[in-house]
């Protein structure tokens, strides 16, 4: 009997050109393999390169500088002239009427004159790059930062701006940059989602920000909770439905084993239809994910020193520390794209001084901790860290805050093949418009893809009659920032 099944199986294999992975799986009877770690490792290696798996690691267009991305997103729009782009003229001309023409603004009225920064700037490191008092700890890392002071985008409102930052367009539904990265490169760890966004905001586009748009659903980001939740309520089961629900792991294993057996026979009777095979594999991956994810989310196994480094021991920094530490743990295990979100806090139309201070205090230590940790583990070399919001803020006042400014603002990168201790581009004397080496969001996207080894003009997907790109018909790689 066993021989008959076996020969039947081999026939199917030869007919369907079944992958070696499938052979291994069938031979080993599926969930019985959970204990066979060497076989698992083999499967894993095969899965990472195997055909038919949309998430299989793919060969990039050219040698990549970065293998993965961590985007530390400051949702709301942190003010560049108060953080990384000091403007002495603003201090000198504080309160004076604006000496330039105002572009389209978000706020309709209550716009005032020039407003100096409430914070002092100091020079740091070998590079002597100035950083304001808001980020004293990140400032210690300036020699690793590549500060882009000439960001430009098109969205004056949050909706358009965040959507463009995440998907390249301000008013349509398109795949997110994480989804594009995954589509281009696959992922290196088949036991974890390849694109994870931690506590994202549901404002201003919500799920579109990690959506796959018209790309296959496999490229969609996996959200861990959202910004309405506290980290402590999320830490046990960050991925929905991850943990066995009302059954013990013994019971679950018992159950899944026969389910897979049943599914396998069902598939065998149907010429091992690849669709059916794919669903069988999804269950196997789910079980492995339960094991590996539980391990990756066990942040508490980190040393006390590491927890302290990120600020996990401090009430103010705890939540963002958890995000940043998790980002490192995920990146370390081959997750292609991780986003941390400090949402939605940086929108200081009023009370700039108080609220920007609060916000910075929540993220400064965690971000600095992340940079230190990545560097000490040798991960910073091939991990691109990106920091920034959806726009900057105006050099002129809106009440006691600042309005949105997509015309010139700052983002920074670190690691992953960018020039360390480097300032790229500049805004005008007051920090309103980018005037030198302007870096539009399309250019930023092109550059990120370039660092990942992808040509943004070649990374296309056909939909609705034409080939789409993350950068649409735009985008120029900023070669000057490449290390």
């Amino acid at each position: 009997m066993a021989n008959i099944i076996k020969s039947e199986m081999m026939k199917n294999i030869s007919r369907q050109g079944m992958s070696r992975r499938a052979v291994l799986r069938q031979a080993a009877c599926g969930f019985g393999t959970l204990g066979l770690s060497s076989l698992l490792a083999q499967e894993q290696a095969l899965a990472a390169t195997g055909p038919g798996n949309p998430l299989a690691a793919k060969v990039p267009h050219f040698a990549p500088r970065a293998k993965r991305v961590i985007f530390v997103f400051m949702h709301g729009g942190p003010s560049h002239v108060d953080t990384f782009d000091p403007k002495p003229l603003l201090t000198r001309d504080n309160g004076k009427p604006i000496p330039f023409k105002r572009s389209l603004t978000f706020a309709e009225d209550k716009l005032g004159g020039l407003m100096k920064s409430p914070w002092e700037f100091k020079q740091y490191g070998q590079s002597g790059i100035p950083v304001s008092e808001l980020f004293p700890k990140v400032a210690q890392h300036v020699d690793d930062l590549c500060i882009i002071r000439s960001m430009v985008s098109d969205g004056v409102d949050h909706g358009g701006a965040v959507l463009q930052l995440q998907t390249g367009t301000i008013n349509f539904t398109r795949p997110s940059m994480g989804a594009w990265s995954l589509y281009g490169l696959g992922t290196e760890n088949q036991n974890l989602p390849g694109f994870i966004t931690i506590m994202p905001s549901l404002y201003h586009g919500g799920a579109k920000h990690w959506g796959a748009g018209f790309l296959p659903g496999a490229y969609e980001g996996t959200p861990l909770g959202n910004d309405k939740m506290a980290a402590k309520d999320l830490m046990d089961e960050p991925i929905e439905h991850l943990l066995a629900n009302g059954v013990t792991s013994d019971q679950q294993r018992y159950e899944i084993e026969i389910l897979q057996k049943m599914n396998r026979r069902h598939a065998l009777e149907r010429n091992s239809d690849p669709k059916l095979e794919a669903r069988i594999q999804a269950f196997e991956l789910a079980s492995r994910m339960q094991l590996e994810a539980s391990e990756v989310f066990a942040v508490n196994t980190e040393s006390e020193a590491t927890k302290k480094l990120y600020g996990l021991d401090n009430e103010v920094t705890h939540d963002f520390a958890w995000q940043c530490l998790l980002a490192r743990r995920l990146s370390e295990r081959g997750v292609r794209f991780v986003q941390c979100s400090h949402s939605y806090k940086w929108d200081q139309h009023t009370e700039l001084a108080r609220k920007h201070s609060q916000n910075a205090r929540e993220v400064d230590t965690p971000i600095a901790g992340l940079l230190t940790d990545l560097k000490s583990r040798g991960l910073l070399d091939d991990t691109l860290v990106l920091w920034g919001g959806e726009f900057g803020r105006t050099p002129f006042a809106e009440r006691d805050g600042r309005d949105h400014n997509p015309y010139g603002y700052t983002m920074w990168m670190a690691g992953g093949g960018v020039k360390p201790g480097f300032i790229y581009g500049a805004t005008d004397d007051y920090g309103y418009h980018a005037v030198e080496d302007r870096m539009h969001l399309h250019d930023l996207h092109a550059t990120i893809l370039h660092l990942l080894g992808l040509d943004h003009e070649k990374l296309t997907y056909p939909f609705g009659g034409r080939d789409y790109r993350l950068t649409d018909v735009h985008g120029v790689v900023a070669h000057k920032i490449l290390a």
Partner: protein, 935 residues
């Protein structure tokens, strides 16, 4: 040979940028010998006629290029000449048609080598044209218009003859079998009866067959059993729920505006219910088209009535995504116009026209002029109540007489005004209390708080007379390191200056408080005056004072929220004077009485209406800031011809609807029957069902497509007749199992040699799981509000699908916050018209089947039914299999009684392993591929 549609402009631009500066116009060259004329007529003119004239001909000159006359040819395109007399081999024409440069024309493939070399030879000769070139380019010999196949008129075709007459049940089968026989492929065997029943039931209802249905159908051995089944399924309201949902994908239906604000569209459900009803009533599709585009302009069924159905139907245009907070309001309007045009052209014509918003379409014969001519129709349509407001307001149409609506609106304003006057009196009462009792002590509080900070305790004297709670709040508020610039002065003050400084803050606070009280008072008075005069309620005054850097911010922080002088809601009553309290009580009572007596909200619809007709300009490069020439309202030249009488009055929606719904339109019927085919078979005859353009796919069986379109129109555009024709065919009733030979001969099923196995959609999965244990609530229509605010979603609104057991199509769809269930299981993204669902298989789906609360509840509900139903385990097993899989247990690799009996013990003390074991068995069957796939 296919005539490809080209856009020479982009080719030229690219080629020119890549090679040389813009060529000047060149002098015409005319033939000097008969042999040159013959060569042109025999070898060159046919190329232009067949390959190019669709876009660059007498009717349409994409990129200003006309390749059908000598004059047009030598003038070249908008960018100049296309031949270079000096260096003929380098002529742009040759680069483009030879696919040498970056841009390649015709788009999908180069001309044949013979044609390329003929053109090369001719250009080398100097590109001589006949001197007398008055003759237009000859049309291809079959009389068809040059252009896309899909633009040709629908032709009637005789179903072909076939050898195997026995296989033929309907004419469809002849078209299918003829091709199969031609390729020597045998169609798959007929599906087993149970498979066929399950297929038909999921297909038409999206639900599994019940035990009774299975028994009935299996025992009906008459030849017309299938016809009876189809009729019965089509007559059930479950049919409209399943097929309406198909159309809702195309119509990108959702219940919020998506994008930035994601506001709720509170009346959108009426459109959804209209669609369900339209399918159930088999509303003729041409009327369905007309109503969705211009139902508001059509007469009601009863003369004199408001055409509520027609108005609701235009929700089709109203339900798209809208960038409400975008501040360039002209852009907002034209983004919505674009979105509407995109949906209309994809849904009805299978065309993507919106590329032409910025430039002539690269692949299809749609020029920017065509785009703006069509856009003009939607720009003359009212989609917004107020597009100009800070967050643009969407238009809702009242489904009652305007006078009735106005009465309702006025009463709502009166209620609002009264609420405002109550609020103003209450706030004033609170302010009065603060002014009398707290403000005079403000310096004491500040100083005491400072003493606590610096010395640990305030002086006993100071403390004795202060409220402990208020003092604590001051201590908290004045904690250092809070970065409140308006407190700098206080922070800098030395102990000797404290009193004077605190006094200054008191003065500031008192002045601001007085000012704000005045504002509140006059607001309350205005509100009462509005009630007397019947005016709209006055807006609440905005708190804005002193640039907010100092006194304004100080006052706000101290008086509201957690501020030390804020008065908690629950304390407010007690601090008001008796007089104020009495006045508030009487006003509130009156308000309550008014509210009770107020007329109910009249029904509203998310719809559109006629707007101000616009004189539309072409927006160069897609930017409204760069208007070009004005265009009339008309339809694409390539489809409707160059000489249309422009639409002079109204928005033009009525004319658009009539044109699209005409039996002669080459696309409408074709596109729709192709969709219906796809929804039955999993793939369309044209696989790219939203794209019949040149980058879309060719039909696998063009004659069959046309045959179906013809019969469909003849039947009075009856969708149900189409279902019958398709479902009673042998093609539909084939097994999904294909033989080895067939798989090799027809791997993509383009010959339709077998039926395509498919996975359940998210709706089918959820509805079926609910149906298994009898908890599916079959109430139809209406709005579900659980967890959602009525008027807007707001970012905190969440809807949990587990909270209701209605059919999935009735659950609210918040675009930016779709429950993960939808995203996990490939729900169509409602951002744009969706032609088909994906079928992804990812691990989180498996986790859902294993660990979700929903599946767990279903498993236990089923286990209860199974265990209670019988004492006998064999009967229980039988029941579980019949309920979930519709068949008897088969043994072998499947869970059996033994499985339940050996189920491992759980953690919980005294837990019924038995019930848990049955629940586990049910969960397995519900998670099985057998359940999730339809053969």
């Amino acid at each position: 040979m296919q005539s490809w549609i080209v856009n020479m402009l982009s080719a030229l631009v690219a080629a020119l940028l890549a090679t040389s500066p813009v060529f000047a116009q060149v002098e015409p060259v005319f033939a000097t010998s008969q042999s040159e004329i013959d060569f042109f007529e025999n070898s060159i003119r046919p190329i232009f006629a067949v390959e190019c004239a669709g876009c660059h001909g007498a009717q349409l000159q994409m990129a200003d290029l006309n390749l059908t006359t000598a004059e047009g040819f030598f003038k070249g395109s908008a960018r100049g000449a296309i031949v270079d007399p000096e260096r003929p081999a380098e002529s742009v024409l040759l680069q483009v048609v030879g696919h040498q440069g970056k841009v390649k024309m015709p788009p999908p493939g180069p001309l044949s080598p013979e044609n390329v070399s003929a053109l090369g030879k001719w250009v080398e000769m100097g590109a001589p044209w006949p001197s007398d070139d008055s003759a237009a380019v000859v049309a291809p010999s079959d009389g068809a218009k040059p252009g896309l196949w899909a633009f040709q008129p629908v032709k009637d075709h005789e179903p072909p003859k076939v050898a195997d007459q026995d296989w033929v049940r309907t004419p469809i089968d002849r078209f299918i079998l003829a091709r199969l026989e031609d390729k020597d492929v045998r169609p798959s065997a007929p599906a087993e009866k149970l498979q066929l029943l399950r297929r038909a039931k999921f297909d038409l209802h999206g639900l599994p067959p019940s035990e009774q249905e299975i028994e009935e159908f299996l025992s009906d051995t008459a030849p017309e059993a299938m016809a009876r089944l189809v009729d019965r399924l089509l007559a059930s309201p479950r049919y409209g729920e399943k097929w309406g949902r198909h159309w809702l994908d195309v119509a990108r239906y959702a219940d919020s505006t998506g994008l930035d604000e994601d506001y709720r569209l509170p009346h959108s459900w009426r459109y959804r219910d209209y669609v369900v009803d339209a399918f159930n009533r088999d509303l003729p599709f041409d009327q369905f088209v007309r109503e969705q585009l211009a139902g508001d302009l059509m007469p009601a069924d009863e003369p004199g009535d408001i055409n509520t159905r027609g108005i609701i139907a235009t929700g089709f245009l109203a339900l798209g995504v809208k960038p409400l907070a975008q501040q360039d309001k002209m852009q907002v309007v034209y983004d919505v116009v674009d979105e509407q045009l995109d949906t209309v052209s994809k849904a009805f014509m299978g065309m993507t026209v919106t590329c032409a918003r910025c430039h002539d379409h690269k692949f299809d014969p749609i020029s920017t002029k065509d785009y703006y001519s069509m856009a003009s129709i939607f720009a003359s349509t009212k989609s917004f109540e107020d597009a100009e407001s800070f967050v643009s307001e969407v238009y809702f149409a009242a489904l009652v007489e305007p006078e009735i609506y106005e009465v309702y609106r006025k009463e709502q304003e009166r209620l609002k005004a009264r609420r405002y006057s109550i609020e103003s009196i209450r706030d004033l009462g609170v302010a009065d209390y603060v002014q009398r009792t707290l403000i005079p002590r403000l310096p004491d509080y500040m100083i005491a708080a400072r003493q606590v900070r610096e010395d640990g305790v305030p002086t006993a004297a100071a403390r004795a007379e202060l409220d402990e709670g208020v003092l604590q709040a001051w201590i908290e508020y004045l904690k250092p390191g809070q970065f409140r610039p308006y407190l700098d002065k206080w922070e800098r003050a030395k102990p000797s200056e404290w009193l004077a400084a605190a006094e200054e803050y008191r003065e500031l606070y008192a002045t601001t408080s007085q000012w704000w009280s005045t504002e509140l008072k006059s607001w309350g008075a205005e509100a009462e005056e509005a009630i007397r005069a019947g005016d709209d309620a006055p807006d609440k005054p905005a708190f804005d004072r002193g640039g907010m850097e100092l006194e304004g911010r100080f006052f706000l922080e101290v008086s509201s929220g957690e501020g030390p002088f804020s008065v908690a809601k629950e304390d407010r009553e007690s601090i008001l004077s008796d007089g104020v309290r009495a006045r508030l009580t009487s006003l509130s009572e009156e308000l309550e009485a008014w509210t009770k007596a107020a007329p109910p909200e009249p029904p509203l619809a998310c719809a559109i209406a006629e707007g101000e007709p616009v004189d539309q300009s072409v927006f160069v490069g897609g930017s409204h800031k760069n208007p070009g020439e004005t265009v009339p309202k008309h339809f694409p030249v390539a489809l409707r011809g160059a000489w249309q009488s422009p639409i002079e009055s109204g928005s033009g929606r009525k004319e658009l609807a009539d044109w699209l719904a005409s039996p002669d339109h080459p696309l409408t019927a074709r596109v729709y029957v192709n969709r219906v085919w796809q929804w039955h078979f999993g793939e369309g005859l044209v696989r790219s069902s939203n794209n019949f353009g040149s980058t879309g796919e060719q039909p696998t069986h063009p004659e069959l497509l046309d045959y179906l379109a013809k019969r469909f129109v003849e039947s009075g555009w009856s969708t149900k007749a189409l279902h019958r024709m398709i479902m009673l065919s042998s093609a539909y009733q084939m097994s999904s199992q294909s033989s080895e030979a067939v798989s090799e001969a027809d791997p993509e099923n383009r010959l339709w040699s077998h039926f395509l196995r498919r996975r359940l959609t998210v709706e089918e999965m959820r509805d079926s799981l609910l149906a298994l244990d009898g908890s599916l609530d079959l109430t139809m229509g209406g709005r579900i509000d659980d967890g959602l605010k009525k008027d807007e979603y707001g970012p905190d609104a969440t809807f949990n699908p587990d909270s209701v057991s209605r059919r999935t199509l009735y659950l609210p769809l918040v675009r930016n916050k779709l429950p993960s269930l939808y995203r996990l299981f490939d729900f169509a993204d409602a951002g744009a018209s969706s032609a088909r669902r994906n079928e992804s298989n990812i691990a989180p789906q498996a986790l859902y089947a294993m660990n979700s609360d929903f599946v767990k509840s279903r498993a236990y509900a089923l286990a209860e039914i199974v265990v209670r139903g019988s004492e006998d385990d064999a009967e229980r097993l039988e029941r579980a299999y019949r309920l979930i899989l519709g068949r008897a247990p088969g043994g072998g690799a499947e869970p059996s009684i033994e499985y339940v009996r050996s189920y491992p013990a759980g953690d919980a003390e005294g837990e019924s392993t038995h019930l848990a074991g049955w629940a586990s068995l049910c969960r397995i069957l519900m998670a099985s591929n057998e359940f999730h796939y339809v053969d």
